[in-house]
Amino acid sequence: MTAAFLRAMIAVARKDFRAEARSRELLSLMGLFSLLSILIFSFALELNRTARLEVVGGVLWVTILFASILGLNRGMALEREGGGMDALLIAPIPRGAIFAGKLIGNFAFAFTVGVLLTPIMSALYTVPALQPSVIGALALGTLGIATVGTVLAALIGATRARDSLLPILMLPVALPVLIAASRASGGLLTGAANADAGAWLLGLALMDAIYLLVCGALFGFVVEEG
């Protein structure tokens, strides 16, 4: 990576953080949705203690995934609103830097929501959630979701169906990440001896690496106009 690439990537990410610091639109949208989702799950599943411990990882990750989709949709709408994406595309910067910059933003928002959510879930469901390894699973899991999401959100921006299509395109593709992440954090959350947790985290890291390579290579094809 050249210095110019890094400069452009950081500029794009800083732009997203600056806009978010001003409006707090994405984080409040995703945060509020996540809280509602946790509440709905706990009512809908009528969770007793044992059941809670078993599903808590799944609830956490389904919530994070849906919140991410919501945030990605809104983020892409903001990017397109004033023609911002076109402005990025006519700037003399590599497409990869746009991808990396947007990815940093998307990842940071999803990760923040996850980190805020964990202690809340910890309190609501009385499970020991605040552990370094859970944070590790959060970091790797949200990175995977954000990677796929950055490409698919860019792709959705140019279709007729717009927002409604993103969940349909994204859920199946994010499923491997979802499974690995909930396995990794599920065992950790219950406090049960989970010998597999390390292996799941490793698998998650591997998946992230593959997604980063594939999506990084494909992003240029998505934003360029035919």
């Binding site: 110019a4 400069r7 452009a8 500029a11 794009v12 800083r14 732009k15 600056r18 806009a19 001003r22 409006s23 639109e25 903001l78 609103e81 004033g82 023609g83 911002g84 076109d86 402005a87 990025l88 595309l89 006519i90 700037a91 003399p92 910067i93 590599p94 360029e224 106009e225 035919g226």
Partner: protein
Amino acid sequence: MALIEIEKLVKRYGFVPALRGIDLAVERGECVTLIGANGSGKSTLIRLLCGLSKPTSGTIRIGGWMIPGEAEAVRAQIGLIAHKPLLYEGLTGRENLVFFARLYGAKPDRVDAMLERVGLSKRADDPARAYSRGMMQRLSLARALLHEPDVLLFDEPYTGLDADSSATLDSIILETRAEGRTLIMALHDFERAARLSSRIVLLARGKVAHDSAEQGAAVDAAALAALYAAAGGSSGRINP
């Protein structure tokens, strides 16, 4: 060698041709207006020139750099003003310009100078969302001029502007001409085209139908209207 050289440029969307072979050379300092009906290929040509879209075949050479192939170097020499502002409404005017200065590697002190030049110094720290259409377009001008581009492209820049903002845009266009920049504009308005530009190119159905430089004729609105009518207006169906 001319600053901008377009050779055998063809652009198709699917099977639908938008440009059917454009050859055009623009010298440094010229101000070329593209006119033509909707679907004649004006906007497509502008999009190709700024690298937003890739040619189906043919080449564009700007300042010695080639599209396709060296699109990044070409984009560094170009400023684009479109009917969309190409700005972030969630940021302030100043933040927008600071961001684009970073992308283009322009000096940060250019930001204040540009805000001054387009008359937005007082409102620079308001969110762009609160700007009027005219202010947005002026900020857009500031963005396009930040990196001192050799070539300025305008794609229907007057869309939705009131009389005041149009006058500001007029004067800035004339100023940039005086600075020796090369301008290419897609316009609808014959009167304005005749007043601002040194050369008029009429596009019809994706081809150059008339070029005032070749004919050596003086540019005036009445003549343009006649040519426009003669070119047969709309070819329909083309959807850029």
